[in-house]
Amino acid sequence: MKHLLILAARSAWNRRLTLGMTLVAVTLSVTLLLGVERIRHDAREGFSHSVSGTDLIVGASTSHVQLMLYAVFRIGEATNNMRWQSYLDLKLNPAVAWAVPLSLGDSHRGFPVLGTNASYFDHFRYGDDRALGFKEGQPFKGVFDAVLGADVADQLGYKLGDRIVLTHGIGGIGGLEHADKPFVVTGILAPTGTPVDRTVHVSLEAISAIHLDWQGGAPLPGFSIPQQFVQKFDLTPKDITAVLVGLKSRIGVFKMQRYVADYAGEPLLAVLPGAALSQLWQVIGTVEQALLAVATMVVVVGLAGLVAVVLASLNERRRELAILRSVGARPVDVFVLLILEGLFITLLGCILGVALLAGASAVIGPWVQTRYGIGVAPRLISPDELRLLAAVIGAGLMSSLVPGYRAYRLSLADGLTPRL
């Protein structure tokens, strides 16, 4: 067996140009397949770790998934806000243990800005019921204090005491700036691997303050309220985007959901994070399946190319196979020789694919994290990916049977003298 391995390797090396091109195809297809699987897995992982301990998310009436997306993942924009009074009513409900108000809509250099209050740092949980921790500094106290998520501080190079300017809207570039009212960084959070890392946290009062002299999404012309005077105004927000609610007892969650739905003041919606997530998976699941199917087809195309190249080489190798027969090779040896060749290319393609993917995730991972909030964990390979690889190798083995069997037939027919 060992000598067949060496023979197969030498023979393949002899045809390295054609086989090399095939190897490129197999490698890229494996990279694509594993890449799709990795992003799928990490996106799910990231989403389900982003919120924990919150029983209900309440916002203005919209779809369950949408409310979840902007309240927790900062994806998309709220079309409607809910009134401050609704929040106060909710908070005073005897079933409610805590309620954290959220106000979105501004950004800082592409990172979303979240207006909230100090209870956010007490009650927000992520992952396996983990609380937020401070890497440096403390929660905001003054109106113009800001607490940065780990990625924001890291990628923009901020430290405590730095001044930052918020931008109106979530667009990032091109938005109007609240340049007259800069904020001071007073805290930097420890990394969580959730959208919190990409968020700039300020107080609700700050959100009101920077919009005092604004109307309809633009500063009022010829009218400006200097930063030092904002305290003279009532900074209680008129409306907010959403509320995270913790209940005293989880048993009451459906009762509470109905209470919110029936709230008389305005149309509101309460979603259970878990239920909204599984709705989200249903939507995304179809896309995932489609992507995986395309990636699988690409692998099939790669392996078909491999079979074609090996088959095409057989005719010019009939002399070689006849020589091997004359020195004692059995037709089975010839069969194994061809199988080994296909297996080599598939295995090598898998190894290179894994390496390429590792390289790619190291290079574009941080970008994907910032841009899409999907933390691609740097790793060589996960058990799920290993299963996919095993399937690819199995498929490579199966497709190698085709040239293997053809060579077997040829060497039986040719014997010692190939009929060319």
Binding site: L7, E320, S326, V327, V332, D333, G415, L416, T417
Partner: protein, 237 residues
């Protein structure tokens, strides 16, 4: 004396059931140590006979014994093992695996047959040294040993192929037109080397050729058309 090395009785072979037989040999024997010149013009069923000796073809009828082993009664893998262990082959041209070095080409039979490997090191040398000895005897310079086979001249390639056919001292060496690609004086030189080494290995040499001028160097000359009674078709060549 012991059994003949090759013994054929009433053998007949046809490529498929409808066709006329292309080999019909009532009797043919080769004794141990003999050097046989088998004259076979094209179309005389030469390749078919070699296929039978190699155990890759089976006669429809009759007996074919090599070293006392009735080949038609062996399984396919037994015949493969027999060929690997007892028969060295040498063909007209392109005998070598192009992507292996000269040395690896010579050692090939020892990779497929443990018997050939064992007999090669019985001399007390290592396998490697035995290959070197043979290559040296066949006038292949040491500097060529690690070259790829395709970088050698045709004459050098044939001598390397001869070393490969002889390594591990197979009882039978079958050479099919090994000199036809060489020019006349090189033919004689090659034949001398070949005979000398096959004698040294104790092998029985069956040399097949359509060129009768070479026959004088052999113990016995047999014309294939004389022993083959089949009306041979050209296509069988």
């Amino acid at each position: 004396m012991s059994d003949p090395v090759i013994r054929i009785e009433n053998l007949s072979f046809q490529w498929s059931a409808g066709l006329a037989p292309c080999l019909d040999i009532p009797h043919f024997e080769v004794q141990a140590g003999e050097r046989i010149f088998l004259y076979g013009p094209s179309g005389s069923g030469k390749s078919t006979l070699l296929g039978l000796f190699g155990g890759v073809l089976l006669p429809q009828r009759g007996s074919l014994r090599l070293l006392g082993v009735e080949l038609p009664q062996c399984s396919a893998s037994e015949r493969d093992r027999f060929r690997a262990g007892h028969v060295g082959f040498l063909f007209q041209q392109f005998n070598l695996i192009p992507y292996l070095s000269v040395l690896d080409n010579v050692l090939l039979p020892c990779r497929f047959s443990s018997r050939r490997r064992q007999r090669a090191i019985d001399s007390g040398r290592s396998l490697h040294d035995e290959a070197l000895r043979l290559l040296d005897h066949l006038d292949i310079d040491t500097s060529l040993h690690h070259r790829e086979a395709t970088q050698l001249s045709v004459g050098q390639q044939q001598r390397v192929a001869a070393a490969r056919a002889l390594i591990g001292r197979p009882e039978i060496v079958i050479a099919d037109e090994p000199t036809s690609a060489l020019d006349a004086d090189r033919q004689i030189a090659f034949l001398d080397l070949m005979m000398h080494e096959s004698d040294a290995a104790g092998s029985t040499l069956v040399f097949v050729s359509h060129d009768r001028r070479l026959a004088t160097a052999f113990d016995r000359e047999i014309a294939l058309p004389a022993i083959n009674h089949a009306a041979v078709l050209e296509a069988a060549a």
